[in-house]
Symmetry: C2
Subunit: 385 residues, 2 copies
């Protein structure tokens, strides 16, 4: 696997990270531009809070785990300063987006701004311990837990009582965030949270009959035969499975490890487009027409998270199915998402693998899944050496 290891490492260090270092910082107002076209030019100056936070996290991780480069730490710190100054409303909830100068644009309807802010400040506090980073991380984490039952708060459009669903996204993110935050949380808190999120992911949202994970279930965990209830997102489920693998290693839970591998591979077989290759974005578990117009598009993060899952699973167990799938997904991903002519990767392909949007960064794509994915695969392959 040595040539793969080098490929992922070089791509991260010599292509992707330099792209964001060069094109993304807003030297006038702080924070990061993420709407970057194919050549890396800024085509829109709005700042999406969760993408700001993800980039802070990424550079803190690079500094912590790759090399203690001052430029990387400085970038993380300048993003964090922007978030501290402009990111939150009076209740401490993080906005969804702000404009270039930091004036709020979209209210904190989306709890993932908070999730990634907590993750960013926790990571930054690790490399640059600072009471304001630490308390911001912890307070935001507490906020998330408080909002857990109604993450959208007053912006929730669901009429209460008719079809109350819970969403996979929050337990899934908490299963990763709790580990990321570990150094800042009481041990008791962690030991209480971890089993409950594992239970949610692996038993409540996991559907035995199909062997797949659902995006939404009834509050009692049962199946809701509705558009939301039938929705599956293979990339989402597979990403959660590598969070489970990490937990299984930390807690030496062999059963969890095996179950995560079984679900991940099953999801990959289910989500793989047998005709044109690549992994679908959304599928209806009963095979009905999706309500998502983009259901059959091939998205970068889905493929990168799958490579992370496969490389981790292979590194831990040597499972040959994981290795064969790794080769196959690797080939599709590098053939289609990597831009042969300029830095960073494409994000959005149509079903046939053609470029659907020529951007390198946008409202939903920032400095996160490509570099985190490359980093994670590199580190997994290193364990095999």
């Amino acid at each position: 696997m040595k040539q793969y290891l080098d490929l992922y490492k070089n791509e991260l260090l010599n292509n992707v990270i330099p792209f964001w270092e060069k094109n993304s910082p807003d030297n006038a107002y702080g924070g990061f531009f993420t709407c970057l076209n194919r050549q890396g030019e800024v085509y829109d100056t709005d700042k999406y809070v969760w993408l700001q936070a993800r980039q802070v996290w990424m550079f803190a991780i690079m500094y912590d785990q790759v090399e203690a480069k001052e430029e990387w730490l400085d970038l993380a710190k300048q993003g964090a300063e922007f978030l501290i100054k402009h990111g939150r409303d009076d209740n401490g909830a993080f906005y969804f987006s702000v404009d270039q100068k930091g004036s709020p644009l979209i209210q904190p309807y989306n709890i993932f701004s908070d999730c990634f802010a907590a993750m960013a400040f926790a990571a930054l506090n690790k490399v640059e311990p600072n009471e304001s980073y630490a308390s911001l991380a912890v307070n935001t984490f507490e906020n998330i837990l408080r909002r857990r039952d109604n993450p959208k708060g007053i912006y929730n459009k669901t009429f209460p009582g008719t079809r109350d669903l819970k969403s996979f996204a929050l337990p899934m993110i908490l299963s990763n965030l709790t580990l990321e935050m570990e150094s800042l949380l009481d041990r008791e808190k962690v030991e209480e949270l971890v089993p409950s999120v594992i239970h949610e992911v692996m038993e409540v949202f996991y559907q035995k009959e199909s062997g797949l994970i659902l995006e939404n279930v009834n509050l009692d965990g049962s199946f809701s035969n509705s558009h939301e209830g039938r929705l599956t997102s293979p990339g989402h489920a597979i990403e959660a499975m590598w969070f489970m693998l990490d937990l299984s290693q930390k807690y030496k839970d062999e059963e969890l490890c095996q179950k995560a591998i079984t679900i991940g591979l099953k999801t990959l077989e289910y989500g793989w487009d047998k005709e044109f290759g690549g992994i679908y974005y959304f599928l209806d578990i009963l095979g009905h027409p999706s309500e998502k117009l983009e259901w059959n598009q091939k998205l970068w993060w889905v493929h990168l998270e799958t490579l992370v899952f496969l490389s981790k699973a292979y590194a831990i167990t040597g499972n040959n199915d994981c290795l064969q799938w790794f080769y196959k997904v690797h080939e599709y991903t590098w053939d289609h998402f990597k831009d042969p002519d300029s830095a960073e990767w494409f994000g959005y392909l149509d079903r046939y693998g053609k470029i659907q949007l020529p951007l390198k960064g946008g409202k939903w794509k920032g400095c996160f899944h490509v570099p985190r994915g490359l980093f994670q695969v590199w580190k997994s392959l290193e364990k095999i050496q």
Copy 2:
């Protein structure tokens, strides 16, 4: 044009209307199913209020303007009864969706439920005069006007003051709705409203430099260089142009007529996919990557509304560009959206014209654009004979 006239008329009467008559009514709980697969089978039972209302309107119009068939009137009335019983919250605002039995699912965050409810009850009142229909139509219309400055109400996620935009959708729909409601409104009210919506559509949202219509502008009408501000929807703009043609005929406004044709044709040239044919769903007016993943898909309603615009424009003026474009759009539309093997039309194609979703009805496609489009083209071509 005689063979075209027959084609549109036959398709409406012998293919599309029978599809909805047969597959759509919910004989157990009232109202209509709209999630219908390729064969017309129900794959989801949720009821989307605006689609319920649109179908009531369509059958009332069929009864009023095509033939006084009792079955059509009965269908319109049963849909109306369902809406009266289950459609509204305590403030009289129409929900976005309810379940099969009528229990509310999604709150009235979307004012288009109200717009189409007002339109439906006004049309039904015309063929079956009834105080409760009439007052419901008028009260709902008043509600819409009251909510005009903040249509999403408490569900609005925009932070006030940073970038306050207004949206094209409301003046556009009001320009049609006001005519639809005319018999129920004070003449004074209509004469006050009509010029103001024409002004909004043709001067505020119309951008002189590009000759195109924007989906969102600043409150003072100026251009907002943001994702929302750069957004254009060719189908939306062209649909509005046939509303303008209707107004120009009613008010004998030759200048409005000519301007609507100029803008409609300009939009069509701009929105036409020169490589694969068909009209794009969304485009960024500065050519930047769209924030909409479905931007290059080809949607049924866009093409049908364009055919309505072109047939009306040609019937009124004999403009040869309109005729040539009619032939071209007709050919694409019938080749790609009509299902050769079963009734009703496909709704969603990818950029290349392949079926993206195999449904005949869903969350956003009901008994409306196909039958209304076929009806309108038929009636326009009749005027030429």
